[in-house]
Amino acid sequence: MTEQLDPRSEQITRRIRDSIERDDLPLSDDRSRMRYVMNNLVLHIHPSKVARPTLQFTYTWGLGGLAILLFTILVVSGVMLMFVYTPSPETAYNDMLALQTDVQFGQLVRNLHHWSGNLLVVVAFLHLLRVFFTGGFHPPREFNWVLGVLLLLLVVGANFTGYLLPWDQLAYWAVTVGSSLLTYIPLIGEGLSNLILGGPEVGAATLTNFYGLHIAIIPLAMMMLISFHIWRVRKDTLTIPRGADEPPADRVEKVTTIPHLVRIELVFALVMIALILLWASWVNAPLEAAANPDHSPNPAKAAWYFMGLQELLLHFHPFFAAIIIPGLGLTGLMMLPYLRFDQLTEGIWFRSSKGRRMALVGALTGLLVTPGLVILDEYFVDLPALLPSLPTLISNGWVPLAGLLLLLVIFYALTKRLFRATQDEARLSLFTLLVTAFIVLTIIGVAFRGEGMALMWPWEALA
C-alpha cells in the first residue's frame, strides 16, 4: 500500500513557515495583496481596498491611528510598570523613586507611559474635532460619533485614575480636587464619590480602587469600545474628502490597502514612535514630594484637562460649574449627530469656504471674549453682591448662565444673518466658539492662575 502524503512542502522549515504565514511573500499582485489584508490579524481591521482620496494625510492627520498607537504604547509600558509598582500608600512613592534610580530604563518607561497618556487625551480630542469639522458624524455614522465621545471619556478616566498612582503631592491633590467635582451631583454625588474613593477622602482604598480601574476595568472597556469603533468605521465607510465648493465625485478611485495605506501608516507610526521616544528620553515625567494629606499646595489644581472645569468653579456656583454646564456640554456633544445636517457638506473641511471663515470668526470670538469675561468677573462684576436678595445658586449660577446662553443665541443669529449662512455653517461657528472658549479656560486655569487661584502672568503662576 502506497503512502499518501499531504501536499505540503518537503522541507520541514517551509512547512513550519507555512503553518504561521499562509500567503506567499512578497505579494506580487493586487489579488494577493487584498487576500493578505483579509487574512492578517492586524491588517484585517482595514478593508482590502480604500478610496484613494482618503489617503490624503491632511484630511485625517492620522489622528485615529495615532490614538491606537498611543494606546498600544500605554498597554506595553503599563504592563512593564506593573512589575515594580505596588498600589499602597506606604510603597507607591518609593516604587516611583526606585523606578527612576534602581530599575534599568525605569525612568524611560515611566516617561513613555506618562507622556503617551497625556498625548492620548490631546489626540483623542483633536480626532473628535477633525471628525466634526469634516462632517464625519453625519448619517450613518451617528452612533460611531457617540462611541467616540464615550472613548474620549474613557481616555480621560484612564488618565485621571493613573494620575494618583505615583502618590506624590501633585497626584494626591489633583485627584482630591478632581474627584470632589463628583460630590456636586445631586443626591448620588456623595455616594458616588465615596464609592470611587473608597471613603470620604483620598486614601489607601482610593489607590487600590484607582489601580484596579486603571489597569483592568478601563483598559478592557477601551479595548472593547475601540474594536467596536473601528468595526463601525469599516461598516459605515470613511467620508470622502473634497475641496470646499467642489461637487461630490460620481465614481471614487479605489486602491489596494497594501501598499498604499499600510505604507503611510507604517511610516507615520515609526516617525511618531521616534518622536515620543525622543521626548521621553529628554523630558522626565513630573514627580513631586510624597503625598501629604495634611498639607495642600497653594494653589491645589486638578489635572490639566479638568482645569477648564476648575476655572468655571471660580465664576459659577459649584452646582452649575461642575454639573449643569459640563452636563449640557456633554449632552450637546452626544446629541450633535442627531440634529439634521446637509449631507452634501460631508468630507469638506469646515463645510464650505464660508464655513471656514465662520469657524475663524467663532474661534476669534472665543479667543477674545473668554478672557474678557474672566477678567470682568474677576475684577469688575460681583453678581452675588449685586443681587444680595437672591440665593447664590441663582445669582451666581442661573443668572450668569442665562446671560451666556443669551449671548450664544445672539452670536448664532448674528453670524447666520451676517454671513447669510446655512444652519450647518452657523452651528459650526458656534461649536468652534465653544471649543475655543473651553480651551482658553483650560489655558487660563493651567497657566494664569497662581497662589490663591489669583489671576497672574504665567511666569508668576508657574514659578
Partner: protein, 324 residues
C-alpha cells in the same frame, strides 16, 4: 416654539435679575439718605439702642454692625476724633486709603485700614467712583468707618465708637488698665484638617475628615460671608487653626477646588472680626480684678474679653464686647 420658549426664559431671567439688582441697589442708598437727613433723631435713639445691644451681645451683634454701617456716628474715641460724614469722588486709591475730592472742590485723604481687612470684604473701590463716607476726623487724619458705594455695596471698617473692626480695643471703658500683649501662638500649635463639608450653617461647618466628623465655628456670619467665598455641602476644604481646650479655632479656610480662602484669625489667633481686647478697661481699680468692657463694640459678639490687666471676663469673643 421650543426655541422661543427657551429664549424668552433667558430674556426674562436677565431682565428679572436687572430689576432685582436695581431694587437691591436702591434700597440701601435710600436708607443711608434717610440717615443723613435725620441725624438728630438718630443721635437721640442710638445710645439707648447701644445699651440694649450691650445687654444682649450675641443676638444683636449684627445689629450693632448695621447701626455702625447705616447711621451717622455718635461718639468717637479720643484718638480718632469727631464724627465726619461726607460724599466725594475717589481720585487716588492705595492699599491703606483713598483721596476724595469733596463737593467743595477740596481733597482729603481718608484712611481705610489694613488692605487685608477691607479688600477681603469684596467691595471693590475704584478711582472716579462716588462714595459716601461715615467716619471720624481728629483734625489731622480722617478714618473711615463705613464707605457706601453707589451700587449699595458697603465697606464696614469701624464701629460707631471708631474702634477698628480689624483690631478693636481702643477704649471706651471706665478706667484704663494696662494692656498686655497677646501671647504668640507657637507655629507647632497650628494644625490643618482636610475634609468634605457635610453641613453648613451661618456660624458652623461640619466636616467629614479621615478622623471622623468635625464641627468648625466660623465666628461672625457677616464677616466671613463678606469675603465672598461660598461654602456648600460637598465642598472639599482644608482648615488651619489651633486647639483651645477642646474647641478647634479656625484661622483660615481654603476651598480645595478653587483655592479661595476665608481668613478668620490673625497669626496670634486673634479673630479678625473682633478686637484683641488690648486696652480693655476694667471697671475696678487699675490692675485689679473686675468686669471689663472688653474693647467694646466690635462686631464680635461672644467670647473672652481679657484685655487689660482688669482681667475682663466678658461674654464676648476675646476682644468682643465684655459685660459691664
Amino acid at each position: 416654539m421650543a426655541q422661543k420658549t427657551v429664549i424668552s426664559l433667558l430674556v426674562v431671567t436677565i431682565v428679572g435679575a436687572f430689576i432685582i439688582g436695581l431694587y437691591d441697589a436702591v434700597r440701601p442708598s435710600l436708607a443711608s439718605d434717610a440717615a443723613v437727613e435725620e441725624p438728630a433723631q438718630v443721635a437721640a435713639v442710638l445710645p439707648t439702642a447701644t445699651a440694649e445691644i450691650l445687654v444682649e451681645p450675641l443676638a444683636t451683634a449684627d445689629a450693632l454692625v448695621d447701626a455702625a454701617a447705616t447711621t451717622p456716628l455718635q461718639q468717637s474715641l479720643d484718638n480718632v476724633g469727631d464724627t465726619w460724614t461726607r460724599d466725594g469722588v475717589i481720585t487716588v486709591l492705595d492699599d491703606f486709603g483713598m483721596t476724595l475730592e469733596l463737593s467743595d472742590g477740596s481733597s482729603v485723604y481718608v484712611e481705610l485700614g489694613p488692605p487685608s481687612f477691607w479688600q477681603a470684604q469684596n467691595v471693590p473701590l475704584m478711582v472716579d467712583e462716588s462714595v459716601f463716607v461715615n467716619g471720624f476726623s481728629n483734625g489731622e487724619q480722617i478714618h473711615a468707618a463705613t464707605v457706601l458705594l453707589p451700587d449699595g455695596a458697603q465697606l464696614t471698617l469701624r464701629n460707631e465708637t471708631g474702634q477698628p473692626l480689624w483690631s478693636g480695643g481702643t477704649g471706651g471703658g471706665n478706667v484704663q488698665g494696662q494692656s498686655e500683649p497677646l501671647t504668640q501662638v507657637s507655629p507647632e500649635d497650628w494644625v490643618t484638617f482636610s475634609g468634605i463639608i457635610s453641613s453648613v450653617s451661618n456660624s458652623t461647618v461640619t466636616l467629614k475628615t479621615s478622623d471622623g466628623p468635625m464641627t468648625v465655628q466660623l465666628g461672625q456670619q457677616r464677616f466671613w460671608q463678606d469675603q465672598g467665598v461660598t461654602l456648600a455641602v460637598g465642598d472639599e476644604i482644608s482648615v488651619l487653626g489651633i486647639w483651645q481646650s477642646s474647641q478647634f479655632q479656625v484661622a483660615e479656610i481654603t476651598k480645595t477646588q478653587t483655592g479661595e480662602r476665608i481668613m478668620l484669625r490673625d497669626p496670634n489667633n486673634r479673630p479678625l472680626w473682633a478686637g484683641p481686647g488690648q486696652n480693655a478697661q476694667g471697671s475696678g481699680n487699675s490692675g485689679g480684678q473686675g468686669q471689663s468692657n472688653g474693647g467694646q463694640g466690635s462686631s464680635g459678639g461672644n467670647g473672652q474679653g481679657n484685655g487689660g490687666n482688669g482681667q475682663g471676663n466678658g461674654n464676648g469673643y476675646r476682644g468682643g464686647r465684655g459685660s459691664n
